[in-house]
């Protein structure tokens, strides 16, 4: 059984009286531990596909199975719980909480799933922040961090709960190319160390070389699906 299975998934949005198709029938399976990059021009449906995979949205037609469970059968509460325990998100705009420090932003995600002791949580959060290269910056608030540092906090927040899947929607779009590559390298490292399934969307050709699997999306359909062994 694959970790993710998409079967003839279609999604369309209503814009006034016009129905705009975003996905036109996607068949896709993703295995545990894959490092997949979805690329394609703007409006090709990358974000829509990631939202479906992340249980934030449901298909208009077709079905999505996560770990063998059809997500269309899940209630809103179950979808929230699925996201809480199984999925980590990384956003283009980082979406950190400005009143919380780097430490607290990561702690926040962990507190949602764990009721461990204060000491254990602290150890775990500090270790994760160290892994993403933020040692010494724990007490800084987002406005005291650079874009790259903020995105590292977002990565730490996504990975701290050891999710089955990490979804990142153009995570390097707001970063310069050097910082973008650093961030991707961290994610590759975490993918290798933790075995987390990672699915990214991007425009950036520099980043695509790190993928084990490259999916090209065009007009809401998969035009190519290339597996590259271990990636770069």
């Amino acid at each position: 059984m694959s970790l993710i299975e998409l079967n003839k998934v279609k999604k369309s949005y209503q814009q006034g009286k016009i129905e705009v198709p975003a996905l036109r029938g996607i068949d896709l399976t993703v295995e545990q531990g894959e490092f997949t990059i979805i690329f394609g021009p703007s409006g090709c449906g990358k974000t829509t596909l990631l939202n479906m995979l992340g249980c934030l949205d449901t298909p208009t037609e077709g079905e999505i199975c996560l770990n063998g469970r059809k997500i269309s059968d899940l209630s809103k509460k179950d979808l929230a719980m699925t996201r809480r325990y199984n999925i980590g998100f990384i956003f283009q705009n980082y979406n950190l909480i400005p009143v919380l420090t780097a430490y607290e932003n990561v702690e926040f995600a962990l507190r949602l799933i764990e009721d461990s002791s204060e000491k254990q949580i602290k150890e775990k959060v500090l270790k994760m922040l160290e892994e993403v290269g933020l040692k010494g910056l724990e007490t800084r608030r987002p406005n005291e961090l650079s874009g790259g540092e903020q995105q590292r906090v977002a990565i730490a927040r996504a990975l701290i709960k050891e999710p089955k899947i990490v979804l990142a929607d153009e995570p390097t779009a707001n970063l310069d190319s050097k910082t973008g590559i650093e961030v991707i390298k961290i994610m590759v490292k975490m993918n290798q160390e933790l075995g987390t399934t990672s699915i990214f969307s991007t425009h950036d050709p520099q980043i695509m070389k790190y993928a084990k699997r490259l999916i090209n999306l065009k007009d809401g359909m998969i035009s190519t699906d290339e597996r590259r062994g271990r990636g770069v």
Binding site: L56, A80, N95, I97, P98
Partner: protein, 414 residues
């Protein structure tokens, strides 16, 4: 719970807006506490002035006289005989009785004439029931059998009179003939009761009885009782009168103070209206704050949902923040209220600022010059708890609205 921690942390965001909302709540609390204190002070002072300067705690008279007491008639007077005396003897809690003869008179200073209420009193008994004599600002109280009078300072100014001047009271006797009472002014009063100051002439009871040709009769008997005895003594007196086959009745001071009691009843309605406005201000402030916060944090709400936070956990974040603003505003309001009420209790405010030489008696409130507030600590507690509860409850609906946002639209709302 991290939601609670986040809610508290969010209080430090948009500090200016949160402070303004809290200040609006604080001002509304302050206004309510201040007005509540003013209204209670007005009520308490009015009641005290009525009891201490006008009616005593209980008034005894014939029901027929009571019905037409405003007319100051000389009909249906009480003849002070042994039965009446015995009815008033040995009553536990009774601390003073004062017979009074009330009559209409025209005060004449030789040039001008003014209608007044003449009040025949026995000064020795009168001071057992009333505090009027404490407010003598010039001269002294007369004794029985002296052809002297005491009038209000204000009335004296109006009639251009001073101590030792002679005045004439033109009266109509019981037999409907005219008579005069010529008396020398022995003392001037300045009491907190405007009607005593401007419309009453005190004369010795025996002089008044003689001039009005009423024998040993009086209009009513004012009674002073120890605190808490009023109801029992009223009942005992009425039983005594029935036993003696007297048609007299004892009336509580409340029955004389209908206007003020009516104002006190209206006050309760007024206070409820003010409280509703205060709460409405709080609700509008809080709802506005939560909606603005939710609109500003749409992406953040989307992120929270993406992280797997349940709707109720997101609601809790906003509710804690709103309740925090309610608590801060409530505490600030109570502190401001305490300062305002403290000032009002200690220094009072001068009604002449608002009404000039006019007195509150024109509005049926027997208070002169200064109005003092009263403390009511339970109101502070009640208002604080009510305010915080309302802040909490009023934030739930907008918080739910925020938490129910579609996560995809929220994340990408830009």
């Amino acid at each position: 719970m991290f939601s609670i921690k986040l809610g508290f942390k969010n209080l430090t965001r948009r500090k200016r807006r949160n402070i303004i909302t809290a200040l609006v709540i604080a001002f509304a609390f302050f206004a309510y506490l201040f007005l509540y204190s003013v209204m209670n002070g007005m009520e308490e002072m009015s009641f005290e002035n009525i009891k201490n300067l006008e009616t005593g705690d209980i008034q005894i008279t014939y029901p027929e006289y009571w019905e037409k007491r405003e007319e100051l008639s000389l009909e249906n007077l009480i003849y002070l005989d042994q039965d009446v005396d015995e009815s008033l003897e040995n009553i536990d809690g009774l601390s003073g009785i004062s017979p009074e003869l009330r009559f209409s008179a025209n005060l004449n200073n030789g040039i001008d004439e003014l209608p007044v209420m003449g009040l025949g009193i026995d000064p020795e008994h009168y001071k057992e029931v009333f505090t009027t004599q404490k407010y003598l600002v010039a001269g002294s109280m007369f004794s029985l059998d002296e052809y002297k009078a005491v009038i209000g300072e204000k009335l004296a100014q109006l009639m251009d009179l001073k101590i030792d001047d002679y005045i004439t009271l033109l009266v109509r006797t019981k037999d409907d003939t005219f008579n005069t009472i010529d008396v020398e002014i022995a003392g001037l009063l300045h009491t907190p009761h405007p009607m005593v100051n401007t419309g009453t002439v005190f004369v010795p009871l025996d002089i008044a009885q003689q001039a009005l040709n009423v024998g040993n009769s009086v209009s009513l008997i004012a009674v002073k009782v120890k605190p808490g005895y009023e109801e029992n003594i009223t009942e005992t007196l009425n039983q005594n009168f029935r036993r003696k086959d007297l048609n007299l009745r004892a009336y509580s001071w409340r029955e004389s103070a209908e206007t003020v009691i009516a104002l006190a009843t209206a006050k309760k309605g007024g206070i409820s209206a003010i409280l509703s406005i205060v709460l409405l201000i709080g609700i509008v402030g809080i709802v506005n704050n939560v909606i603005l916060s939710a609109l500003e944090r749409t992406e953040e709400i989307g992120m929270m949902k993406a992280l797997g936070m349940r709707e109720m956990e997101i609601v809790l974040v906003f509710v804690v923040e709103a309740t925090g603003i309610g608590v801060i505003g409530g505490l600030a309001g109570c502190l401001l209220g305490a300062a305002g009420v403290g000032w009002l209790v200690k220094y009072g405010f001068d009604l002449t600022y608002f009404y000039g030489d006019m007195s509150m008696s024109q509005f049926g409130i027997p208070i002169l010059n200064k109005l003092y507030g009263v403390w009511n600590f339970s109101t502070f507690g009640f208002l604080f708890i009510l305010g915080v509860t309302v802040a909490l409850l009023s934030s739930i609906a907008p918080a739910l609205w925020a938490a129910r946002k579609d996560p995809v639209k929220a994340i990408y709302h830009r």
